[in-house]
Every structure is written in C-alpha cells, then in structure tokens.
Amino acid sequence: MNNLTVSPAPHIKSGLTTQRIMWIVILALLPAGLAGVYIFGICSLKVIFISIISCILSEAIFLKFRQRDTRIILDGSAILTGLILAYNLPPEVPFWIPVVGGAVSIIIGKQLFGGLGHNIFNPALVGRAFLQISWPVYMTTWKNPRWALDAVSSATPLAKEKAVNFSYIDLFLGNHGGCIGEVCILMLLIGALILIFTNIISFHIPASFIGTVVVLTWIFGGDGFFKGDFVFHLLAGGLVLGAFFMATDYVTCPLTNKGKLIFGIGCGILTSLIRLKGSYPEGVSYAILFMNAMVPLIDRYTKTRIYGISKT
C-alpha cells in the first residue's frame, strides 16, 4: 500500500521544500550578520547565538508539551526566527533579552497559533515588539562601531534627540550605531539579491514598501514639500532589513501580487508616519505588525477569480 499516497495538490514536487527555503534565507542573511559582528564585536555573536538557541529550545519544549514530533525544529524556521530577532536587537543587550525574546517569538508568535504556516504575525517581530515595549531602555541603548573613538552609548541616525550627521557612505556600510543586522546595507542588499535570484521572494513587497517610504519622506520629510532627504531614510534604520527579509515572510504576507503591493504600500505609509510624526524613532517593526493584522482582509478582497466560477 506504500505506492498509493493520497495528498492534496500539487502532486509534482519541486526541489524547493520548506526546509530548503528556510536555509537559503538563512544563508542570505549571513552576510549582514557577519557585518554586524565585524562592526560591533563579539557581543553581537553572543546575542545571535543566544537568540537562536532560545528559539530552538522554546520550540522543542512546546512541541514536547503538545506531544508532537520534535524533529520539526530541524526545519530551520526556528533558527531563522532567532536570527532575524537577533538582527533586530542592539549589540550589547543583557543575555536574558534574547532569551525572553526568543521564547516569546516562538511560543506566542508562532506555536500558540499552531506552528509554522498558521501564525498571523511575524514571530521575530512579535518578540521584538514585546521586548521593546517591556524594556525600552535596554532596547535603545546603542553601541558605536568598534573603531569609533567613544565606546559608550551613542545615537543612531534616526534618533531624533541627538542630530548627528552621518554621511551616505557611513550609512551604506554600517559605520554607525544601530541593531546588529540592520546597519550594513551593503551586506543586506547582497542577501536580498540572493533571495530575488533564487525566486524566493518577489520584488513586489520590497519595491512597494521602500518606494512608498522614499516618496513620502521625499514629500513630507523636510522643511517644506519635496525637500525630504529620502536617501537618508532609505539607508537609515531597519527599512532594508524589514522590507526584504521581514515583510516578505511567506506565512504573514498576502497571497496575490496585488495584495502584496497593497501590503507594501501600507507598510511604507505607516513607517513614514511613525518616523516623521510619531515618538518612536523607527517604525518598521510596528508598521509590519499592523499590516500583518490586515493581511487576512487583504487576501479576502484580492482573491483571484477561480476559473469557471461566476463572479458572485
């Protein structure tokens, strides 16, 4: 009876399993992480490590609790969540921050909904938002790059209180304070190119997301209209990390291309609003979480016509 497998469509298997996708994404994210370690030092590596371990352990414990197969932790998604969460943390956070963050991401953000594929919100962002709201001081205590003269807390480019001027090259290479994985735009873009070339993500979300932010910050970002420094907003903060790696998460983004464009535009509008008008310096995480909540509605109203069925 082993020759008869009853399973839902599609019945033609491609080489791209969930596991493979996860590992390619992890691979694409590695350059940015290496840059983070290079720029900020070994503390970054510690945070990344702890975050990943916490995610894997949380998932294993919860699966055991639900009496499910714990080998699921090998599908790479927990590791990916841990990696992305770490990339969103300042390099010198106390060790328990990624521990708590990882547990919250996996358990509340993913497993309570039923595991991979069932969550509504991006798990890593759930963890990050939880950490940011709970311990705002730790989550905004930055570190300068290793070679900077003053190794104490510094400002990030987006910080509104201290207006430090960073050159575009500095922003592009990551020569400034910030979260581990968001600062080195160069490495992030290399990773993004890998994802686009392997067709894992489409350009719809990143293009609409980044495009909207560029347009809005250009129009409203400066004194008077159309004087905003949109290159700055493009390179500063978590926009590139968010647009290419977090907003594009398969499970939490819309199914259709039209939906993806709406999603990206929505994220862009919210990010720009929070950056320009809100009290938080960075809005990418909240913007994506907000749009995640809208995804079921977006999917509902951008459904593609099923062939052969009338419009009602």
Partner: protein, 202 residues
C-alpha cells in the same frame, strides 16, 4: 475653530487610545461578534451610529440639564437610561419601517444597550470636554467628533479581528487556546502593533 485639535482627537481615539485595544471598552462584542467579517462590519456600523447619536444626546443632557442645575452626580443614571431608551427606540423604529434592515441589524442593537463602549464614550466625553468647556458649540463638536471616531476605531479593529479569526478557523491551534484565549492573544498582538502610533503629533 482649531482643526488641529479635532484631528488630534480623531487620531487619538482611532489609533493611539483605541477604544478596544487600549481602553478595553467594547470587549464583549469584540470577542462575541468578531468571528466573521460581515456581522463584524454591521456591528461596527451599528455601534458607530449609536455612539455618535449618544454623544450628541448626552452632550445635550449634561450641558442643559445636569450642569445648570448642579446635579452632575445623576450622570450615570441619566446617561444609561437615555442610551438604553434611545437604542430601544431605534430598534422599534427600524423594525417598523424596514424589516429587512431590522433582520440584519436588529440583534446587534440589542447587544449595544449595555455596551461598555457606548456608555464609556459618553462618560469620557463628559470628563474630557463637558466638565471644562464653556462654549456649547465647541463642546458639541468635540463630543461629536470623539463619539464618531471612537466608533470608527472600534469598527476598524473589529474588521481586522474578524478577518484574522476567519483565517484562524483553519489553523492547528492547541485545544485549550481555541476560540477565546487565542482571540485575546491576537488582540494583545494587535494592541502591540497599535502602540507604534503613540506620541503622534500634528
């Protein structure tokens, strides 16, 4: 007229201090009616209508009855009686003149009578605007705006929630968490997302 202030009230009540996700007013219908999109939309519209109307009526009562005669302590009693009667009247009105509309909206109206949200917005209006304002026109516009926008905020969140819960029907949620607990968790995550709006200034 300071339009800025009105905009701030609107943004505040819809996003920053959203009635459901921040003030917890209106949780009962939120959990109860948010299982699918269409009822959610109708409930939201009904609530918005009742909230707006109640804001106007309670503005009238407070400004012309309670304050001049210094019987503000009768606020709770008068507000709730008026709101309940008003909703009852609307129900009867709709039932008589549009049975079709009643079939759709009827049950929701009954649920709204003792809804924290409607009574809450009236009390909130009186605390924020009516106790301090002296100009009738100003307080009227503020109350009206806040009442309407509170309803809008309520409807938006209800819609989001219904979309999510429809999708959750297909998810492998652990049995103890099914239905209500996971709804609260989702609300918690939505509340976290809405916190991104804090501190908005225009």
């Amino acid at each position: 007229m300071e339009y800025n202030q009105l905009l701030m009230i609107a943004i505040s009540v819809i996003f920053i201090n959203n009635f459901i996700l921040s003030k917890f007013l209106g949780l009962c219908p939120f959990i109860g009616v948010s299982k699918s999109t269409r009822p959610a939309l109708y409930m939201g519209l009904a609530v918005t209508f009742v909230m707006t109307a109640s804001s106007i009526i309670t503005w009238g009562i407070y400004s012309f009855l309670l304050k001049p005669f210094h019987i503000e302590y009768l606020r709770t009693l008068s507000f709730i009686l008026v709101i309940a009667s008003f909703v009852q009247l609307i129900e009867m009105f709709i039932q008589k003149f549009s049975p079709a509309l009643y079939k759709i909206f009827g049950i929701y109206l009954a649920l709204i009578t003792t809804n924290c949200a409607v009574f809450g917005v009236a009390v909130l209006n009186s605390e924020m605007f009516l106790k301090v304002q002296d100009s009738f026109v100003k307080s009227f516009i503020f109350c009206l705006t806040q009442g309407f926008c509170a309803g809008v905020g309520f409807t938006i969140v209800l819609l989001f929630m219904s979309g999510i819960r429809e999708r959750l029907e297909f998810c492998d949620i652990p049995r103890p968490m099914k239905d209500m607990p996971i709804a609260f968790i989702v609300a918690s995550l939505m509340s976290m997302a809405f916190m991104g709006f804090s501190g908005f200034r225009f």
